[in-house]
Symmetry: C3
């Protein structure tokens, strides 16, 4: 029976998302099943910048939508972001090392069959719609997450 | 034999505490045992705002007590707190969705039999006393935590 | 067969590193195997302040090297750092309680046989060299990490 890894993507940080997606991609190459469960700020990683909408949103939801990151490449660093300067510096250093960007790791995970699901309650609180996320996303809840995570061989909260 | 989940509550963020307590409540409804181990900033989540005391504290401990959050509802957001404005906005969005507040999830976890324990060393360093925390709290240490966590089916550091 | 704990050290925060190293030291005293895998900001915890070099580094790497923490005791707090004031306060409170400092926990972990490995890609992106880290460090990658973590009895992302 194949092994399983379950990752909660809570933080919406560029660097933490990169760590998670490097693990997810590497695990899939090792034929390990990977589930990523997105909650709160983690949802911004899987937001499709092309599909943003303000329809049927309250004023707070509209404001929140405008103020928050528009997808993977728009996420800030967890540290030393310095209003984007620190992130630019890190991106240069990634490029100098010919390492892929976050969006490449996200697309890799989508192609390699990582399972994406998200927390319905988080989606509602953050004022996002399912249609604004990547198409692989399945809307789920805490109990489905627990069922999946507890049967996995390792679980991380990122 | 029933399954077990172990959560380390390290961060004292409103949103991370909410994620943890949503998992804890859902797991208890699924008859899964849940242990939450509080350390460092996580202790402020289980501080009872009515039981604050400055007695027998050093000057640093008194100052720290005054500067730090007074219980669950007083915790800041991990991101976009904006001196409380971001948090107010998120609380409005929670209310608009008729979702419970953090304190409701905490009280739910207490009623549903989640086991609460905390790190003695953290308590001492943070200058808090056992009597300032919720009554369900048991003072413990790293070895007890490890024994409990390693026998659990999943462990998260939040 | 002895039990195993695997910790990812992602964050470069003084307080989170302390939590991780308290767990690592306690686990070793209980004869549990401990692996710590360092990535991104976590690398600064295991940087040797005596071995810093600017040789063979790009301008960005040099700048990054100068701006980032020079080893364990130089790490900031994850919260309330207040440009170092909050950290000083916490250090005083640690001393008042006769608790060890972070560097003592790190040296304890080294003596007790905790296994240290780090992410090659992170090392390259952050512009650090193996020779700048503690001598116990083994340079590794995501697949080695996954192999080790998935065979462990518990895994945390810190």
């Amino acid at each position: 029976m194949s092994k399983k890894i379950n990752l909660v993507m809570f933080s919406g940080d560029y660097d933490k998302a990169m760590a998670a997606l490097i693990i997810a991609n590497a695990a899939r190459e090792m034929d390990i099943e990977v589930s990523m469960f997105f909650a709160f700020w983690g949802l911004f990683l899987v937001r499709d910048p092309e599909k943003m909408t303000l329809e049927d949103k309250t004023n707070y939801e509209k404001m929140f939508c405008m103020m928050t990151p528009k997808g993977a490449e728009d996420l800030p660093l967890s540290k030393m972001n310095f209003a984007g300067f620190g992130k630019e510096m890190l991106l240069e250093m990634i490029e100098d090392n010919k390492a892929p960007r976050l969006i490449d790791f996200l697309n890799g995970a989508r192609k390699k069959g990582v399972k994406f699901s998200c927390c319905k309650l988080s989606l509602e609180i953050m004022g996002l719609k399912e249609s604004e996320l990547i198409p692989e996303m399945e809307v789920s809840d805490a109990k489905h997450y627990i069922n999946d995570a507890i049967e996995s061989n390792m679980q991380l909260f990122i």
